[in-house]
Amino acid sequence: MKPTPQHHAALSRFLERLSRRDRRLLVVAAAANIGAFGAAAALAAALGLSAGVPVGYVGAAGLIGVLVGAGAFIGWLKIHRWGPRGATRHQARLVEAHMPGLRGRLMTVLDRGLDAPTTAWSQPLLQRAADHAERAVRLVRPEAIHPSARASKPLGRMVAVGALVAVVGARLPVGPADALAVLFGASAASVRLADATVADEPDAAVVGDISLRYVYPAYTGLEPRSVPNSDGTIIAPPGTAVTVRARTATAFQAVAIEVDGMEPVDGTLRGGRDAECELFVEDSGQWRFLLFEGDRVTTSPWFALTVDADAPPVVVLSKSGEIKAPMDTPLGVGWQVTDDYGVVRVSLEVVRANEATEHVLREPLDRPVNLDGIASMTPRSLGLSAGDVVSVRVVAVDNDRVEGGNRGESEALTVTVLGPRGYGRNLTAHYERLLDAMLMALADFLEEPVPPVSTRPALVRWAGTAAERFDPVRRIMEDQWGDAPSSGIDGMLVADVLEASASLFRFTLTTFDREVGAAGQQPVAGDIKTFGNLHAATVVELETASFVLDTMIREVGVSELTRMARKTADSARDAADEAQSTDDASELNARLDRLARQMNQLRKAASDLSDEALRDFTNSTLDQAGGLMDEIRKALSENRLDEARRMMEGLAEQLAQFAESLEERQQRGSDEADEMQERFEALMEDLDALSAQQDAQAEELAAMQEDFGASFGERMDLWRALDGLADRLQAATLEARNRTRDGRGWRPFTLVRLEELAALGAGVRDSVRGRDAQGTALRVGEVQRDADLTSGFVQRDRMRPPGPVDGEQVQAQVQASQAIAAEMAELLSALEEAPGQSNPEMEAATRATSERQGELQDWQRELMDEVQTVEGAIPTANGDATSAMQSAGGSMETAREFLEAGVAVAAEGHQREASGLVREAKEHLQQAMQEQQQMQQAMRQMQGEKGGSDGDEMANQAPQNQPEIPSPELFKTPEAYREALLEGMAGDVPEEFESLKARFYEDLVRQ
């Protein structure tokens, strides 16, 4: 008989129960051991933290402990054979061991009972063994096999350890539980602080030798920075990690840093006194050290913490308020963006009817903190139409990753888009306002006596009030163009006027502000003379500006009048023709109404003309035409149609005559301009030829001197070198003076020194030109001495707060003058050593050339008249060409006198000077002509025409002092960028834009 499955199941259940208990006991024991270990570890951590061991160290130790514990646990489980304990055979063996009487029956039943029946075993025996085993196991209690004591021991240990930890931990500043919390992220300091006794005396902890180390967030692009000997103030952008190191006066156990009541952050304390904490800058507030000693905490004073947040970019425009922008002209709004950490994008935002569109201006490849440019898109390219009034602002976005990019906006600019005619009207109105302001200032200057007052203090006061005469001019320019100066004709005129007046006021303030001695308050004659000259120069500039503006306004007005007169005459002709074929009086009246409206416009155009004769002529013609129209209407109302027709013919005839007259006038003006242009061109050629011939004569004289002795050649070389240096010296001294502008920020006597230095510079140049070695040496010596003294004055003025503008440049120019003078002094010494005696043959040869010099003089006189005439015909000219030509005549005369005296060296110098002056006259004329072209361009704009010969866009008159170079990010590669630039530069530009092109090249080279 085979053992029944019931036997087997009963045995198995029993054994499994044993297995479970075995394992349960093992788990409890393990848990108790872990608990004990954990408690011990917590106590250790608490001890460490309480002793001020850094959390990191404690944490690391804890981590090691955990790892060790885990390993030990696994080992322990292995030792205690967790796996086999689940096997029934293992349990059966334990039962067999407990009940030796079983004598292997249980094992046998387990091993054979469930196997396939075999012949090897006796079934009855097996049955009996099974019965026996079953009865036996019924007698065994599981506790007997696996006693509970196996778990109670570890539990006891755990309790003991726990008790110990509790007792010890309770006495620690950081208890075991707190230590665990700290290890899991809580602040040890806060724990200590909660139970600590705060020192009676607040801020008692003395800390010093504070040093800060900033580690900035990556977006700022800033390098880490250390600040030794800090006063504790932290200033940093958000996200910055600041490591604070300090030394305490007394030793402590632990340190933490507290920021404005937030949970303290633990620091480290080396040697009980060297504290090091780290904080992350988030908000502005204050911070302090918490220093722990046992359960006592001492605080340091509070230190400031200022968040230097990445402020939005600051965007500034060159214009403000309202501007009028022509349809096809670049806006020309200069913009400048400044950000503390970098700009990623600049765009132009245009708001029209509450709908904003954005046009990217720049998206730089790097992240510059300063970026500027000119918004050169035209209203048309922005999708605007004539008549639109939009709000425009420049928007910049920075690279702040905390906030996701701050947005900085400029002030909104109201832009009224004008069509060509609208812009023309706007420009005309601007010039009219400017003319009024200029004339008022001119009248003030003209009406006052020179000098306006008689005492020094009164003159100084006068300078203060007279300067206000230009306030309206400045205001008008600002209203039209914003802060930046106009690059158009008006900008040029205003700049000249202001420069001249600045010289006058500067001189007045510096000259008459000086202390007076016994001489009293009366200004000296020399100063008054200079004052008079500067006053006159201001008047001349005002006159030129006023005249140019008036010429533009008048010519444009006459042109407009002529155009309208023709239109009106044509309308009158149409009306007269229609009158012949219609009997409809109402139709004719309607025609007359239209004509009347046109005549009113014509009358208005005439009333705007500041030309009495032409205005009277127009008005009288219109009066007559108006009277005739009244009669026509009367005839029409009385049904006298034939009379009306005849009168309409008469009206058409009258208006045709009027239009013809104006057109002929225009044509004559145009013919005269053409003729003057031809004369100008011929004059340019003549002046070139004259200066070339004078140069050739000087060269010939120089060659002659070479022929008559090599020593002359040496001297000539020295003089040539001196020529160049003298020019440079004059330029440097002049620049030093001019850089003082209107004298603000400079002490009067410094200005006087600079004036005198400039005069000396000019004197040196004259002496060199005259080949006056002695005079040159004398003056060069004076320059050396004066420049030294002046440099000291300039230096001291620069040191005085707030310091003058351009002080550095003034200093540099003065120093340059010194250097040049020193160089000249060396050459003069060499000149002194070079033999320079003439000989009779050379003197005779020199005299022989005087006749040809005389011929050149005759030619110069002829050209002088032409220069005067041509210059007079150019409204923008101010007489400089004539003056230069007069001086050239003087130099030629002096050269001739030297030639007649046989003095070749001096003659040659004056010949070269004359040649230079002739060229100067030519340049003045060319410049005036260029300015006139600017003036004509402005006139075309006033008439609403597009500038340029081929209908290009109107040149922008808005500020455009810097050439605009395309942004690098617009090109795929640097090569493409370079190519595009070179291609652009290779193009021809009108003569008046040559200087702009040159600046473009210069900027490109710098880029």
Partner: protein, 519 residues
Amino acid sequence: MKIWFASSVWLMMATSALGARAREGLACLEVGDLQCAIEVRDRISASGERSEAAQVLRLRTLFREGRYAEAVAVLDEMEAAGLESAQRETNPYRGSHAASRGKVESTRDGVRVRYANGIEAVLREEALEVMERSRAVYDPLFGGGPDHTVLLDIFPTAYRFTQASGLPPEAVRTTGVVALSKWSRLLISSPRSKARGYGWKDTVAHEYIHLVVSWRSADRTPVWLQEGLAKLLESRWRTGQDSVLTVHQQTLLRGALENNAFVPFEKFKHSMAYLDSGDEAALAFAQVATLVQHVLERAGDGVLAVAMDRIRDGEAAEPVMASLAGYPDFDALMAGWADWLATQALDSAAVASLPVVLDADADDFKTDPLLATDASKMRAARLGDLLLERDRPLAALIEFRKAGEGDGPASPLLLAREAQCLAELDRVDEALAVSSNGVQLYPEFTPLLKTRGALYDRIGQPAKAAEAWSAAHELNPFDAAVQQALIANYAALGNTSKADRHRAILRILQTGGAAEVAR
């Protein structure tokens, strides 16, 4: 006349019957006898003759009569017929026709005035008056006048005058010719054609003198004598006195006398219009006028008719004038004239001819002899104007005086402006003195007269004001302000007839001559 008659008869006898009559008419025209030519033409027309000579005669007589449209029709006809003489015609037929569009005509005893319809009507009455009085004064003086109605053709613009005169525009612009006596009629530009007007009435008389002299001498009087007579006698129609040389002319004459730099007669033997400059023309006029004056002073007005007869009869003008003046020959006359001239009190002042400024070339400064040529002075003057407009008379005065500084002739415009500024500054006496000096130097500069009139108005002296305004009116009757001032002043003086007359002119100006147009 005798010579003309003899030649006519000879022509009639020597040529064929058909061509002879036409050529007779042409010969009449050659000697300036328009009436004769008209009679011949009419006879030929009645006979139906269509010869080429007859066509030419028709063409030329119609043109001389001022019947431009008909003349152009004849010319077209000749051209269409391929007549060679049509190509040879140089008279400005078509130009005259174009320049005369829209004109109307007014006729009185022996005179016709043709003017542009509309406001040019302001000239009508005074033009007729000048013509009538000229005929009354000069015909007897020269021993007779044209036997046809004399046409005065007034052109509203210089452009149209140039068109009608056939003169080169450059010549007109250089010398400022505004009137011509040619083709048996008088052609003048309206005073409106010059920026400031001009002494148009004396000019009409001047041209009429040319016509009479030409007619009386069978067009044989040389230019120097023509111009001398016309210049000297041009004001007799209104004053009964010979013309007085202007300060400018006296200055030029004095300079020429001192430097023996007279304009050679040869230089203007064809026309004064071709002289180099206004100054040269002014000197030439002064020379010949004083020469004639010298002759008349020695021989009396009665010699004029005799001279005309002798010249017409073939004697050269120079010996005729010399003998009439009691000199053995012309050289002696010239020497005597020079001696006589040296005894005359000739003024000397820095004055110059007024520049020629035509039509609407009304830029103030181009009418001024100083400012028109010196851009820097013009610039200062312009600034003065701008300042004066802005009520800154003192500053303006400084600019005007600055403009007047230095070399060059006195500037009439600157004198006028200076007077204006002084008046604005309540320095009226100074202003009057300045304007008085200006008027003396430049009597034909209208702004000075207007300024003077305004100054008298300001101080309440209507008689003197009327005098000044009237002088301005004589130069430029188209200025409504002048008319208004005259109306006010004549009304104040109780001279209602003159006030009414100017009121009528003002009415024309204000209505654009509507009444005239409607006619």
